[in-house]
Amino acid sequence: MATRLQFENSCDVGVFSKLTNAYCLAAIGGSENFYSTFESELADVIPVVKTSIAGTRIIGRLCAGNKNGLLVPHNTTDQELQHLRNSLPDQVVVRRIEEKLSALGNCIACNDHVALTHTDLDKETEEIIADVLGVEVFRQTIAGNILVGSYCAFSNRGGLVHPHTSIEDLDELSTLLQVPLVAGTINRGSEVIAAGMTVNDWTAFCGSDTTATELSVIESVFKLREAQPSAIVDEMRKSLIDTCV
């Protein structure tokens, strides 16, 4: 199920949050609405942790992670690192990496099996990603943009990429990632997909400017509709026979 929300009048929810299958990080904002929207959707299933990274609120763009681990940049403070280690489940490895490209969220896009990275990332960082996140790493560009983490968002079930991605690139990426991909927009025509939304295997959060069309594309490519238990009954209802005359 996809939910629309805002962070203090900004529709860039992917900037202020990070959602994975094992945890969710939310930025510390002026009003509690942002955090409580995540809580109400996810509280029973995964922990929602309020944090800052390097003293900033743009946590979604600074860190990269999946259910196996979380990578934070070198300028993360010790207190923040400790807070994350304490609040996240034990099986999630939190690692601070020395990488000059410190906006890891913009440079790395990953799910639980595959990661796409910025072409100029250090070899050492690539090895750490493969090790901590347990993924296969590919250096790629998306529609000619090297910031792969900004221009695509993908989960284990599907992915959304920059609208100007060519069909050949889409096919190539889809083969690498082994998930269906679609080129589309978020937040009423914005091309920066990952800034406008955050997604995991059963739910997605999008900026409130996202149109109904964009939302339905997201729900279909990430297969979010089937994640609802009631959806099964609705599908079956057409074939259920009520009375037999």
């Binding site: 203090e8 009048n9 900004s10 529709c11 002026g30 009003s31 009423r188 914005s190 409130s208 400017d209």
Partner: protein, 323 residues
Amino acid sequence: MPRKPARHHRLLPVRPLTFSPFARSVARVATAYLVKHYMHNAVQQSAGDEFKEKLKIIGRHSESSEDEEFDGVVQADFAFFDPKPDDFHGVKTLLQSYLDNKQWDLSGFVDLILGQTTVGTVVKLEDDEDNGVFSIITALNLGRYKDHKCITELKEFLLNICHEKDKIGNLRSLLGDEAQKVGLLVSQCVVNLPPELLPPLYDALFDEISWATEDEPTEELRNSFRFKFYLVVSKFYKLNLQQKNANQKRSSSTDKDEAFLYIKPEDEILHKLSMWSFLFPLQTQQVATHELKNYQLTGIVMAVKAEDISSFRQQLHALINGS
């Protein structure tokens, strides 16, 4: 409807501009730091109507070479356009802090502005692929749009932040009974926009308003532009005396600090001409620079009578072009 201004050649004087059937002027102001400018008076006869409109494009002459040396100076050709749905993101960014940090239907508000194509101007670069919006100016009739969620939220915000008892009655009547005659003047631009653009921009707005009172298709719409009052919500820097005294040591201050520092030059004139105004504190954090350490960013709401607008336009011309 032709909206784009005429092509601009460096060697030829700026040609007269075309008018839309609504006889709206699209003022084309070419502002560049190193390009030769022209003084030009254009007298226009619009296609169907029979009135003459005087269009003044003011510029500076400068002796400079045609070489584009990038030493921190950018050449830009600004053009005025009608609001279009494409401008959504640019206008939304400009109006992000319009109501301080209150979470409200800003997207709906921007949609209202962009939906009103007859009155309102967006300043963009000529031939810009990025479609960046540099400035937005418009006037929205509070009565016409009173049922929109964004307008009700805006009214609620203004009534809540008004702590001056003598002004709240005035505010309530402007937002309530008199709403049909009140225009919300929304004007926002990027910080480094050349001030030479402001007089033509405001002239364009008030001219469009007066043309709309004649050219709109229905009587109701025509009346909706017969504003008696304009309401302005803005921000400026106010001298914080306590902070100043705290910051001052024994040494005497040589400069006499101004009580108010206006970010937008037109705010100073509007403030002087206003019927009434009140200040309200802002909750968003401000960056404290050295020069502004004694100043506090404060919000202001002003009400200006429509009769005073011609005086405002004159004073704005004098302020920008005289200084």
